[in-house]
C-alpha cells in the first residue's frame, strides 16, 4: 500500500514540490489507498459536509440534551452577535456559536459527522461555516477544507492519538482545532507551509488539555471546549497568515502531544474520575443524573 505522506513535513514538501494544495494530496492518497475513484471519494465527503450543515442548523434553532446539562448556548451567542455588541469579532463569534451548535446536537444524540471525534465534532464545521461568510468559497473549496483538515488529522491519528481515553482532550479538541487552523489557511489562500505553522501554533496551545467530562457525558466541559477550540483555530490561522511561524516544527509538536498523553494520569483521560468531573459540583451533577451508586465510583 503506497502512502504519500507519513508526517506533516512530507505532506508539505509534496504539496510544494508538486505545486498542489494539501487537500489535493489527501484526495490522491485516498484514491491510492482505497482504490476508489475521485468521484466516489468527493461524493462521500460532500455527504459529510451536508451532515455537518444540517447538524449545525439544527443546533442554531436550539436543542437540549436528555440530561439538560447542555443546549441553547449556540442561540444565545447568535443573539449576542445580532445585538452588535460583540468584542472578539463577528466571524470568530460565529465560529464559536456554530461549533457549540454542532456539539449541542451531538450531546442530544443527534446525527453528526465526527471530526476527528464526536466530542470534538464542532470545531471543523463551526469554523468552516463561519469563514464561509467572509471568503465566499465554492462548494468544491468547502469540500477541500475537509480534506485538508483530514490530511493533518490523519498524521495525528497515526503518529499520536485522536482519542480522549488514550491522549486526553488535547488529542480530540486539540487535534480538531489544529486541523481547522490548517484548513482555514488553505481556504484563505495561504501556502502549505503556512497551514503547517497554523496547525503547530494551534496545537501548541492545546497541549496538556485533559479529558474530564462530568458524569462521563460528552457535555460539560466538551461543548465549551469546542467553542474555545474554534476560537483557537481562527486566531492560529490569522497568526500564520500574518507570517508568524512556529519555532518548534509541527511533527515535533505532534510528538510532544503524544508523549504528554502517555504520561497523563488515567483519572484525566475520559474516566470521569478527575479534573472537573471530580469537583463538588461535578460529582453532585453525576449523582443527580445517575443516582448514588455512580457517585461512589467517581
Amino acid at each position: 500500500m503506497e502512502v504519500l505522506f507519513h508526517n506533516v513535513r512530507e505532506l508539505v514538501e509534496r504539496a510544494e514540490n508538486e505545486n498542489k494544495l494539501i487537500s489535493e494530496i489527501m484526495i490522491e492518497q485516498e484514491m491510492l489507498m482505497s482504490e476508489r475513484s475521485r468521484e466516489e471519494i468527493i461524493a462521500q465527503m460532500e455527504n459529510n459536509l451536508k451532515v455537518m450543515e444540517e447538524a449545525l442548523e439544527k443546533g442554531l434553532k436550539g436543542v437540549k440534551s436528555v440530561t439538560g446539562l447542555t443546549g441553547g448556548d449556540a442561540v444565545l451567542m447568535q443573539n449576542y452577535i445580532q445585538s452588535g455588541k460583540g468584542l472578539s469579532g463577528d466571524i470568530l463569534l460565529d465560529a464559536v456559536s456554530k461549533a457549540v451548535a454542532t456539539n449541542e446536537v451531538n450531546a442530544a444524540m443527534g446525527t453528526i459527522c465526527a471530526t476527528p471525534t464526536a466530542g470534538s465534532a464542532g470545531v471543523v464545521p463551526g469554523t468552516l461555516f463561519a469563514v464561509k461568510n467572509k471568503l465566499n468559497p465554492t462548494k468544491e473549496q468547502m469540500v477541500r477544507y475537509l480534506f485538508t483538515s483530514g490530511a493533518f488529522g490523519f498524521v495525528v491519528a497515526n503518529n499520536a492519538s485522536i482519542s480522549g481515553a488514550a491522549g486526553g482532550c488535547q488529542a480530540e479538541v486539540g487535534s480538531a482545532a489544529a486541523m481547522a487552523a490548517a484548513a482555514i489557511v488553505e481556504m484563505a489562500g495561504g501556502t502549505p507551509a503556512q497551514s503547517s505553522h497554523a496547525f503547530a501554533i494551534s496545537l501548541k496551545n492545546m497541549l496538556g488539555l485533559v479529558c474530564d467530562p462530568v458524569a462521563g457525558l460528552v457535555e460539560v466541559p466538551c461543548v465549551k471546549r469546542n467553542a474555545m477550540g474554534a476560537a483557537n483555530a481562527m486566531v492560529a490561522a490569522d497568526m500564520a497568515l500574518a507570517g508568524i511561524t512556529s519555532r518548534i516544527p509541527t511533527d515535533e509538536v505532534i510528538g510532544a502531544m503524544y508523549r504528554i498523553g502517555q504520561t497523563m494520569p488515567t483519572a484525566l483521560k475520559e474516566t470521569a474520575q478527575g479534573g472537573l468531573a471530580a469537583t463538588p459540583t461535578g460529582k453532585a451533577l453525576q449523582a443527580k443524573i445517575f443516582g448514588g451508586a455512580v457517585l461512589e465510583r467517581g
Binding site: T111, S149, V218
Partner: protein
C-alpha cells in the same frame, strides 16, 4: 498504520455523543453480529477501562446492542436499541469490570443461542475506528474495515495452502493474512482479509476442505 482513510478522520457520520464510546462500540457489536452470522439469543457484555467507567453517559450500552441488531453508526434506531432487542428476543447483560486492559476502551462480547456461543474482544481506538483483538480465545488483529474470512481449523500441514488455493480459484486476492493457535497440533485460526465480499457458496466449499472446522466472514 492504524488509520488508512481520510474518512476515519472526517467521519463517521454517526449518532452522538462519542465516536469511540458510541460509534466504535456500535461497530464492535456489529462485527460480533457479523461473525456470529445471525441474531444471538443472549449477550453478556464485559466492559473495561473508560468503557466501564462512562458507558451509561456515552450510550455505549445501547450502541453495542444496536450493533448486535445490525444497526450502522448513523442508524437513529440505536436510541431505541434496548427495546428493539427485547422485541427481537435478545436478552443482554452489561458487566463493568475493574481489571486493567492494554487499551482503555475494551469490550468483551459473549453471545450465543441454543446451538453455539462465541466470544470476541474489541477495542475502540479513537474516532470510531476499532480493532478486534481476540476471537474465542485466539489472539488476532482485525479492523472490521475490510471484508475478511475467519477459518477455524486443525493445526495440520496443508490447511493454509488448501484455503489459499480455493480462494485463488475464484480469483479472490488476499490482502492480509494471520494464523494463530493456542497450542501446537490443536485448534488454529486463519484470519484472511480479502479485497471483495465472498459468496456463501465459497465459504461452504472451504468448510468441506479437510481439517476445516468453521468458516465465518465479515462483509463490507
Amino acid at each position: 498504520m492504524k488509520y488508512t482513510s481520510v474518512f476515519d478522520i472526517i467521519g463517521p457520520v454517526m449518532i452522538g455523543p462519542s465516536s469511540s464510546h458510541t460509534a466504535g462500540a456500535a461497530r464492535i457489536g456489529r462485527v460480533a453480529r457479523d461473525l456470529f452470522g445471525r441474531l444471538p439469543k443472549w449477550a453478556k457484555i464485559h466492559l473495561y477501562g473508560s468503557f466501564a467507567e462512562t458507558y451509561k453517559g456515552h450510550g455505549t450500552d445501547v450502541a453495542i446492542i444496536g450493533g448486535l441488531l445490525d444497526y450502522e453508526t448513523y442508524d437513529e434506531r440505536i436510541k431505541t436499541a434496548f427495546q428493539d432487542a427485547k422485541n427481537a428476543g435478545l436478552e443482554f447483560e452489561f458487566i463493568p469490570e475493574t481489571d486493567h486492559t492494554e487499551h482503555p476502551n475494551t469490550a468483551r462480547i459473549v453471545i450465543g443461542d441454543d446451538e453455539t456461543e462465541m466470544s470476541i474482544v474489541g477495542i475502540s481506538i479513537g474516532g470510531g475506528t476499532i480493532e478486534i483483538t481476540e476471537l474465542n480465545g485466539f489472539p488476532l488483529r482485525l479492523s472490521g474495515g475490510m471484508p475478511a474470512i475467519l477459518v477455524v481449523h486443525n493445526d495440520r500441514a496443508g490447511c493454509i495452502a488448501n484455503v489459499a488455493k480455493c480462494l485463488a480459484e475464484y480469483d479472490i486476492n488476499i490482502g492480509h493474512m494471520e494464523v494463530s493457535r493456542k497450542e501446537r497440533g490443536n485448534m488454529a485460526l486463519m484470519v484472511i482479509e480479502i479485497d471483495q465480499n465472498i459468496d456463501q457458496s465459497i465459504m461452504e466449499e472451504i468448510e468441506l476442505l479437510p481439517n476445516i472446522t468453521k468458516v465465518t466472514r465479515i462483509k463490507k
